[in-house]
Point group: C2
Chain length 402, copies 2
C-alpha cells in the first residue's frame, strides 16, 4: 500500500475537526465534523440490515437531494434501537451543526457508531458544538479518523490523485471498522471528500459500483452493523469539466480511482479486524457464475473453523473444502484445486502430502497471503478479504461494553 | 433431562464393542462396531455438504435397500477428500466386518470422523477386526460412544422406552459432536438402535421428520461437516405389530419418542460444544413464516458477536437485534420484543433500561437459559439451540491437528 504523508490529508474547500465530548467515556476524541465551504454533490451507501440506526434513516432521506455540506460523526453510542427519541436526537444534532455553521440542516449528514440501544445525551453535543465548529481546519482529517474509532487500533485514511482532463483531482477517505463487519455494507463508517466536479446521480452510481469490490468484499465476523454508512462529498473545486456520464473514459478513470481508494480503506479495516494477526485474500476461480464464486469465497472467508486454523497457522485445507461444500456453489469435489499463495496443496480434491503441507505451513506464517481456489466448474471468479480468528477476538467481544 | 443408568444402555438383539486400533493416536478407543443378530430395518440421514466423505457416499448407496446389520465406526481420520483410494478403503473396511461376522458386506454401514484429507491405513482395521468382533457384548454401547469422540469432552448417550400396542419398545442412541456442527445435519455422527418392528420406508420418513426439530435445530459454529451421519437400525424384537403407517396414532407416538431421544442427544452435543460454557435456546415467535422464524433463530444462534457476548455474560441485546435484522426475516424494528428467560429487556424495539439490564445479566450467569424473541410480524415460531463462544473454542480449533 502507498504511504500517505500526513500533510497530504486535505482537499481544497473542506475542513474538519474533532473533540472529546464525553459521549460515553471521558477524555477521548468522540465527536467530529467534516464541512465543505459550499454545498457539495453527495452520495451515500448504507447498511442492508433491516434494523437501521436513527442516523442512517435520516441520512437516507436527506441524501436523495444529492447535496450535502457537512457530516457530523460520533463514536461511543450508535443511536440504534432508540425509537422516536433517537430520531429526534439525530435531527437535533444536525440542527446544532446547521446553527453553528449557518447552513440548512437538510445539508447536514450524521453518523454514529458504538453501543446499540443506549440514548445519546444532546447536552454533550450542545456543549461541544461551538468549540468543534471553531476548530475546523483543512488539516483536521486525521483527528476525525481517530474520533471515529471504537475497537479499531489504528486510524484509517487513504488518499488518491487522478488527472481528469487537464485538472488534478484529489480524493481523501477515512474509515473505521474492526468488528460487526460483513457485506453489505462492510464498513461501519467511511467518508470520502473530493474536489472533483461530478453530477450527483453519476456520483451515486459510481459509488455503488466501487463498493462492490471493496467494502462489500471484506468480512471479519459475518455480522452486519445497523449503522454502516459510506458518504462521499464532491465540491467541484478541481475545476474539471463536470462528470455527468457523457465522457465514459474519464468517468471510468474516476470510478477506478474511487474503487482503489475504497479498497485500500477496506483492506485496512480487515487488517485491523478485532484480534486479527493476518490479512487473507480468498480468491475463487472456475465457478459457474459470479454469484456462486462470491458465495464460495464468502463462505470460506466467514468460516470460524477456517479462520481459527489460520490463526493456528495450520494448513487445514479440509476445513476450506468443507466450507466450499456448504456454500451453495456447484462443483465436483474431485476437481477442486486449492493453493496457499503459490503452493498447491490440493489437486483434483486430493491432498498433496506432507512435504507440500510443510511448504504451505510456511506460507501461513506470513502476515498476508492468498488462498487460491479453482472449482473447475465454469469461468467466473471473485475475491474476498478476511482475517484470522484469534483468542483476542473473543476477549475483545466478551468485554466490549464493560 | 432424564438420568440414564449405565445398565440400561442395551437393546435386545444388538451387541457392540470398541477397541484402540491406533488409527491416528495410540492407546485411545478409535474403532467401534455395532451389530444386530439379524438383518434390521435401517434408515439414514446424511450431510447436505456437497463435499461428502467416502463412508457417506457408500452408506447413501447401501441404505436404499432399507436393511442393515452392522455399523463400523472410526475416529481420528474422516476419510473425506481421499478420492478413489478412500472409497476403496471404505468398501474394504466393510468387507473386513462382513468376513468377521459372516454377513454380506452390503449390510454393513461405515462412519468416520476426524481429520479431513488424510488416508486411513487398512492394516489398522485388519489387525483390530478379529479382537473387535470377538469382544461384541450387549452392554458394549458406552464404549462405542467413547470411541466416537474427537474434541468431545464426554460421551453422549440417551435411552427411551415407549409402549406400542401392548409391547414395550426401547430406543438407545449414541452421538458425537462438539465442532463443525450446523444443520443440516447438525451432528457429525449419531446411531440409534431399537427393537421396534417398523417398515423401512416408514422408518426413513419418521427419521427425517424427527431430525428437523433435533439435530437440524442446533448450531455450534455454523460449519457443516463432510461426514455427518445419522443411522437407525430397528430389529423388530419387541414384537409389536409392525409399524407401516396404517396406524397413525402409534406411528406418531414412536415418532415423538424418537424425536425426543434425538433432541436429548442434540442438546448434549450443544452443551459439549467446543469451549462451550452455556446451553442457550433461541426461541423466535411472531414471524411471518416458519422459514423466516428459523432463519431469524439460526442467524442469532450463529452470530459470533452474540455468542461472545453470552460468554462475557453481557446482556448486549443490540447484537441480537442486529443479527435479526440481517437474517432475512421481515419485521418492523419498532415492534420487536426480546427477553432473557422471563426478563423482558426490549419492548417494541427499545431497551428497558439499566435496572432490567441488571436482572437480565443475572439470567446470563445461568448455565442454561432462553432468548425469547417476538417479531410481531406473524404467527410462525421456531427454536434453535446454541452455545456461547469462548476463548477455548479458538484454542481448540487453532490447535486441533497438532
Amino acid at each position: 500500500m502507498m504511504t500517505v504523508e500526513h500533510e497530504n490529508l486535505s482537499v481544497q474547500g473542506f475542513r474538519a475537526a474533532a473533540v472529546a465530548a464525553g459521549i460515553r467515556k471521558h477524555g477521548r476524541l468522540d465527536l467530529a465534523l467534516i464541512v465543505c465551504d459550499t454545498p457539495a454533490a453527495a452520495a451515500g451507501v448504507f447498511t442492508t440490515n433491516r434494523v437501521q440506526a436513527a442516523p442512517v434513516l435520516l441520512d437516507m432521506e436527506r441524501i436523495r437531494s444529492g447535496r450535502a455540506q457537512a457530516i457530523v460523526i460520533n463514536s461511543g453510542i450508535a443511536n440504534a434501537c432508540t425509537g422516536e427519541a433517537g430520531m429526534r436526537l439525530a435531527r437535533a444534532t444536525t440542527q446544532l451543526v446547521a446553527d453553528a455553521l449557518d447552513i440548512p440542516a437538510e445539508l447536514v449528514q450524521v453518523a454514529s457508531t458504538g453501543v446499540i440501544g443506549e440514548q445519546l445525551d444532546i447536552a454533550r453535543f450542545e456543549q461541544a458544538m461551538p468549540g468543534l465548529a471553531a476548530s475546523l481546519e483543512p488539516d483536521g482529517f486525521p483527528e476525525v479518523a481517530r474520533a471515529m474509532m471504537t475497537t479499531d487500533t489504528v486510524p484509517k485514511t487513504a488518499c488518491r490523485t487522478v488527472r481528469l482532463g487537464n485538472r488534478e483531482v484529489k480524493l481523501l477517505g477515512l474509515a473505521k471498522g474492526a468488528g460487526m463487519i460483513m457485506p453489505n455494507m462492510a464498513t461501519m463508517l467511511s467518508f470520502v471528500v473530493t474536489d472533483a466536479a461530478i453530477s450527483p446521480p453519476l456520483l451515486q452510481e459510481i459509488l455503488q459500483q466501487a463498493v462492490a469490490r471493496s467494502f462489500n468484499a471484506i468480512t471479519i465476523d459475518g455480522d452486519t452493523s445497523t449503522n454502516d454508512t459510506l458518504l462521499i462529498l464532491a465540491n467541484g473545486r478541481a475545476g474539471n469539466p463536470e462528470l455527468d456520464g457523457s465522457d465514459p473514459e474519464t468517468t471510468e478513470l474516476f470510478r477506478q480511482t474511487l474503487e482503489d481508494l475504497l479498497r485500500e480503506l477496506a483492506l485496512k479495516i480487515v487488517a485491523d479486524g478485532e484480534g486479527a494477526t493476518k490479512l487473507i485474500t480468498i480468491r475463487v476461480a472456475g465457478a459457474r457464475s459470479e454469484e456462486e464464486a462470491r458465495a464460495a469465497a464468502r463462505t470460506v472467508a466467514n468460516s470460524n473453523l477456517v479462520k481459527t486454523a489460520f490463526f493456528g497457522e495450520d494448513a487445514n485445507w479440509g476445513r476450506i473444502i468443507a466450507a466450499l461444500g456448504r456454500s451453495g456453489a456447484e462443483f465436483s469435489q474431485d476437481q477442486v484445486d486449492i493453493a496457499f499463495d503459490d503452493v498447491t496443496m490440493v489437486r483434483a480434491g486430493v491432498g498433496q502430502g506432507r512435504a507440500v503441507e510443510a511448504q504451505a505451513t510456511e506460507v501461513l506464517k506470513r502476515r498476508q497471503f492468498a488462498v487460491v481456489i479453482d472449482l473447475h466448474a465454469g469461468s467466473a471468479a471473485a475475491e474476498y478479504y478476511t482475517c484470522d480468528f484469534s483468542i483476542d477476538y473473543v476477549k475483545i467481544n466478551a468485554d466490549y461494553r464493560s
